[in-house]
């Protein structure tokens, strides 16, 4: 029971963070902005209530996963409120739905072991979701990745990632020799091919990262990892030659400054924003998010660095690392191969996503259109992240 004190301490810090953040936003408007304090109240109530439910009914599982994700989500809501109030309100709704999914998965799902038989179901669903983007997708912001159904647009590749991990876990758990690897390899290559065709290079990178991680965990053979990197280099080379959008990304990555006004506008603005933030930032509300395009989704990290400093950006990376550690810890205590592989897969999914977007935004690797999980505005991203975290939480409950 002594872990209860520690969790409550972390939770109190989270409430304090919400309070101070929203209070800061409240005093920015001429008279006191009551909307900000209402948002603060709603956020704190949501977090407190969900924590209470999780602790009361499922006290075996790993509580820190939920606490870390709620800290990240509340940072996101605070910054989104500063950028655009409507986005923040929608984000809170997505957060609430996400937490509901999280709790429902932990409540309703029977133990995960019996899901390992549906290998071909996952395979079909993955291919369908990947192909949906190519066949029905509308081109938005340079990528044909969005599908609108009944007015709501979502990214099928976000959900395709979840099923791909499930498929890889169920086919790699019986790994015995090289022959077992051929089928998953073909599936992964097809999925990557669809991603590149849809110009969604970020998701392709993430898929690749997840597959290599799961491959290494399943086989423990470094030579397969090296072979994969080799294939990646070959694939990158071929796509560089074939597709001009790949060429464009490489061009603005290597030297963004000459094209600052047209092609590399996004990345240059992002770099300027991060640099002007300095160590502790210019303060919430003092920055200029309107000069950074797509600031609510891809470049939210740049806005956070501009207004709250590079120290805050570093802190967010540390929080993701802690979340990743807790998720991997659940994998260690898992009982069978399938659960272990799924946990590793979903943790790698979140970690790779963070790496790809933060790296892209600071121009360490070529920029891609990925969201920062839990912090960026976005329904599909929030829901799929919470789905993955829910499964990890369920597995952590079985193990201990």
């Amino acid at each position: 029971m002594n872990t209860n004190k520690d969790e409550k301490k972390l939770l109190r810090y989270t409430y304090l963070l919400c309070l101070v953040g929203f209070f800061n936003l409240a005093i920015l408007k001429k008279p006191f902005d009551k909307g900000a304090m209402i948002m603060c109240l709603i956020t704190c109530l949501l977090i407190g209530y969900s924590y209470f439910i999780i602790r009361k009914f499922f006290s075996d599982g790993d509580k820190y996963i939920f606490i870390f994700s709620s800290i990240l989500a509340s940072i996101g809501i605070i910054v989104l409120y500063r950028i655009e109030t409507a986005a923040a309100i929608k984000q809170i709704i997505w957060f609430a739905i996400g937490v509901t999914i999280f709790i429902l998965i932990v409540v309703l799902l029977p133990d995960l072991k019996r899901f390992d038989k549906y290998k071909y179901v996952y395979l079909v669903l993955t291919i369908i979701l990947m192909a949906m983007g190519t066949l029905f997708g509308n081109e938005t912001l340079g990528a044909r990745n969005w599908v609108s159904i009944a007015g709501l647009s979502f990214q099928p590749s976000e959900f395709g990632k979840l099923f791909l991990v499930a498929y890889l876990a169920s086919s790699l758990k019986d790994y015995e020799s090289f022959k077992d690897l051929i089928e998953p390899a073909i599936v992964v290559m097809v999925a990557l091919g669809f991603m590149v065709l849809q110009k969604d290079l970020g998701s392709a990178l993430i898929f690749f990262g997840i597959s290599v991680t799961m491959l290494y965990i399943a086989t423990s053979k470094m030579k397969y990892v090296i072979i994969c990197f080799g294939l990646f280099a070959v694939g990158a080379f071929i796509s560089y030659g074939l597709f001009d959008h790949v060429r464009l990304r490489f061009l603005i990555w290597k030297d963004p400054w000459p094209y600052a006004t047209n092609k590399s506008y996004q990345i240059v603005q992002s770099l300027l924003a991060i640099a002007s933030g300095g160590l502790t930032g210019s303060g919430l509300g003092m920055g200029y998010p309107k000069y950074v395009p797509v600031c609510t989704t891809d470049f939210i990290f740049s806005i956070i660095c501009e207004e709250l400093g590079i120290l805050m950006g570093f802190a967010i990376i540390l929080l993701y690392f802690l979340l990743f550690y807790r998720c991997m810890r659940a994998a260690i205590y898992a009982e069978d191969n399938f659960s272990r592989l799924i946990t590793v897969g979903y943790s790698a999914m979140i970690a790779c996503q963070v790496f790809v977007i933060v790296g892209g935004v600071i121009n360490m690797i070529p920029l891609t259109g990925i969201t920062l999980p839990l912090v960026s505005y976005g329904g599909s991203s929030m829901l799929s992240t919470f789905f993955a975290l829910g499964i990890i939480q369920k597995i952590s409950e079985e193990g201990r």
Binding site: Y13, N24, I71, S282, G283, M286, A315, L322
Partner: protein
Amino acid sequence: MSLGKLSSIFAIIIIAIVYMIIFTALKIMNKDIKGSGRRRVKRNSVGLEIIKPGNSANLRKGGVIPIQKEITIGRRSGNTFVLDDPYVSSHHARIFAKNNEYILEDLESTNGTLVNEVKISGRKYLRSGDIIKIGNTVLKFIG
């Protein structure tokens, strides 16, 4: 104080809070790593090993009854652990957990309960290896 200055101060406070969170979390993780070795063992392996089955038909020598938080022992069929033995009362005894320690409580049975050959009255803390005699049945507490 101008709004600019105020915002910078707030920014520093917010950063400080987030780093306190990270620091606290790291301390917790550290405690977790240190304690994770011994914590696993305690939970699942508390039980009663059957040394002498007595008159009960459903017990074998060497079998282990696991204890999940609490068991009741007696002749009545509502008990968790039913001993079909004439020297066992209908509700003979109870073993339950309190703060990670296990306690054996004699429920005012006719013939009493013996722990290590000593008749107990009321409650007694159990330690691993204690021999419990209820009627003709001999059990060993494993914890």
